[in-house]
């Protein structure tokens, strides 16, 4: 079957994962680390990587795998194996559906603290700001099925800024997988983890809401009775302020006299109804003639449109992965069979 290069390009690595959008899809994909090729770097530095698609049948590349061409220690000799070979490193993940599941973490969670914010102990290779789908949690059962944005990421753990977990039982086990930042359509629904009782309620979400919503947008609340603040259920409010550091939004709803918002107890799982969410509900277009402040004209955020483009190739970051280490220049090519 003849091959055609459908697209190609180059980027300078920042040491983290990179998404390559592939409008024509791909049957074969390769990267070259142009920076490391002429050097004699430490053992395991990947200079070339290859991925084979489903058309290769039994020879297709597994998720988060691929063939890696790596230098041996301080000499120019090449070793070839797969990313899954010991010592394993992250490779390619071809994503063609939404919600997009990126590289699968093989190491399960070992602990989730019931602190504010919650801290997760987890050996992994995730990056700052990644969004993880949590499932199969033990102890902190209430968050199974939710997704969270992670911060303060190290190789052994990360923080869930969007989860104040003081009233929850600590998690003792669980699993995660990385999902795309955006769902198939944007703006999307978000998980609510906290609502204050105030003249203008402050709503905390599990991810940074400023990536999805904008001041002036209306949001519609779905708060099951198990979360306490039933008065907020099915209300629609307008966002008046947002905070990217704390993952919060202020809305023009007076919740002073409402019941207290609280996650259902772990002991009530799995019978407690989940989850508390907000969904986009348009905007009321306004223009203040004195301040010239306009709302309702931000077509980047409030208009419904495609979210995460698919298909794309996720290249894991790092010296031993396809997207390379910081400052490495990476060339990539996507190929497609002609038939």
């Amino acid at each position: 079957m003849p091959f055609t290069i459908t697209t190609g390009g180059s980027f300078t690595s920042t040491g983290v994962g990179v998404k390559i959008l592939l409008p024509s899809s791909a049957d074969y994909f390769q990267t070259w680390n142009i920076t490391q090729l002429p050097l004699a770097p430490a053992t395991g530095v990947v200079v070339r990587a290859e991925w084979f698609g489903p058309k290769f049948g039994l020879g297709q590349t597994a998720k988060n795998d691929g063939i890696r061409w790596k230098k041996t220690n301080s000499v120019n000799a090449i070793e070839v194996d797969t990313f899954g070979t010991t010592t394993a490193s992250d490779g390619f993940t071809y994503v063609s559906i939404n919600p997009t599941i990126e590289n699968q973490s093989t190491n399960p969670i070992t602990a989730i603290t019931n602190a504010s914010p919650a801290v997760v102990t987890h050996t992994q290779t995730y990056s700052e700001g990644d969004i993880l789908q949590f499932y199969g949690t033990t102890g902190m059962l209430q968050i199974a099925g939710m997704n969270f944005q992670i911060s303060s990421v190290s190789g052994s753990g990360y923080t869930l800024t969007g989860l104040r977990a003081a009233t929850l039982a600590a998690g003792t086990a669980g699993y995660t997988r990385r999902i795309s930042k955006y769902l198939a359509v944007d703006p999307q629904y978000l998980y609510v983890t906290e609502i204050t009782k105030a003249t203008s309620a402050v709503v905390r979400t599990s991810v940074d809401p400023t990536a999805y919503y904008v001041v002036g947008m209306k949001i519609h609340f779905s708060i099951p009775y198990s979360f306490g603040m039933t008065e907020m259920d099915q209300l629609t409010g307008t966002i008046t302020a947002m905070n990217a550091t704390n993952y919060t939004m202020t809305v023009d709803i007076d919740s002073t006299a409402f019941s207290t918002f609280a996650f259902p107890l772990t002991t009530s799982s799995p019978t407690a109804t989940l989850f508390a969410t907000v969904a986009p509900a348009g905007a009321s277009t306004r223009r203040d003639p004195n301040t010239f402040v306009e709302t309702g004209y931000n077509f980047q955020y409030q208009a419904f449109k495609s979210g995460q483009f698919t298909p794309y190739m996720y290249l894991a970051g790092g010296a031993q992965s396809p997207a390379g280490a910081a400052s490495d220049i990476i060339n990539w090519q996507a190929y497609k069979f002609e038939n």
Binding site: P224, Q234, P270, T273
Partner: protein
């Protein structure tokens, strides 16, 4: 040289051509298209941008209003308008065919491939609308099922809860009732909201308390083939491509999302003059030696949830892991 003798049969006189084509093509598989027929259809004009705005006036407050005879006018109210925006996007697919396909092997490929592209148009549109429902709507986990998971398998109470939410938000039903008739085993079907579910859930749907399967409707006239059952105030429509998210339940099972909605909850906007374009590029255009021709199909679509009050839904798992 020796000459064989005996009876001439199909063993020593095999046919020159071992196969023949049947008189007609077999059916191309097509999944049920359920995600568009319950939504409003709008049209975007050309030359005025790619964002379509749909606007709705919210109702006025019914508080107060009584004149007390003092001559003081009641405070006037400023109507509130909610604007819903949707961005137009274009999708396309093509098939390039070499002349030798027609010359040596296949006849009427243009007709056959045009039909395939037409099917792609409808299927792609359906999946885009499915993605809208799965991304931009709040769903509530089913609880109280027997599989011990979170969300659980679907139960009548969960369905009734969604009906309560929609009715509480003054949503209008989508489908009219089917009056009862004097037929054994049937009963009347209430006017209904719409629910869309995945084929992997059919066994669970049949087990929900109070389910009325399609065969038990008093009349089959005018029913869509995708119509599966009535539960409470919802008519459930089935598709193999309805939304699911693998392995994210508390027990790691696949979670299925069931959008449930009434009138004017969502919209599909078509671009005038670009609704469904199917075209042909002849060989002298596609190929320098005139050997390849091309068929293409493309369409423009924008989509939006137009009223979150009138749409909700359930996250469910199945009794038997799928």
């Amino acid at each position: 040289m020796s000459f064989p003798t005996g009876i001439t049969n199909i063993n020593n006189m095999a046919p020159e051509l071992p196969v023949q084509a049947a008189e007609d093509l077999l059916s191309t598989p097509q999944f049920n298209l359920i995600h568009s027929f319950g939504v409003d259809l709008h049209h975007a004009e050309t030359y005025i941008g790619k964002t379509t705005r749909m606007s709705r006036f919210e109702r006025l407050s019914t508080d107060g209003g009584q004149l007390d005879g003092s001559g003081i006018d009641p405070a006037s109210e400023v109507p509130v308008r909610t604007d819903i925006d949707a961005t137009m996007e274009i999708y396309a697919k093509s098939i390039v065919t070499n002349e030798q396909v027609v010359l040596f092997q296949n006849s009427k490929t243009l007709t056959k491939f045009t039909a395939l592209l037409g099917q792609w148009l409808r299927e792609k549109e359906d999946l885009l609308m499915r993605d809208l429902f799965s991304s931009s709507v709040s769903y509530i986990n089913c609880t109280g099922g027997i599989n011990g998971d979170q969300p659980s398998n679907i139960t009548l109470n969960n369905v009734n809860n969604i009906e309560s939410i929609l009715l509480g938000n003054d949503a209008r039903t989508m489908l009219t009732d089917i009056e009862a008739e004097n037929k054994f085993g049937t009963s009347g079907v209430r006017d209904s909201f719409i629910a869309l579910f995945n084929t992997n859930m059919t066994a669970d749907i049949q087990n929900v308390q109070g389910v009325l399967l399609k065969k038990d409707y008093p009349s089959q006239a005018g029913l869509r083939p995708e119509d599966y059952a009535q539960i409470s105030r919802f008519r459930f429509f089935v598709s193999s491509k309805a939304a699911k998210i693998p392995n994210i339940s508390m027990l790691g099972r696949t979670v299925y999302t069931i959008p449930m909605y009434g009138l004017e909850a969502a919209a599909k906007i078509e671009q005038n003059n670009y609704t469904a374009v199917i075209g042909y590029r002849p060989p002298w255009v596609v190929s320098s030696v005139g050997q390849n021709s091309q068929l293409y199909a493309k369409f423009a679509i924008a989509r939006a949830i137009t009223n979150q009050n009138w749409i909700s839904g359930l996250n469910v798992t199945t009794i038997q892991p799928t």
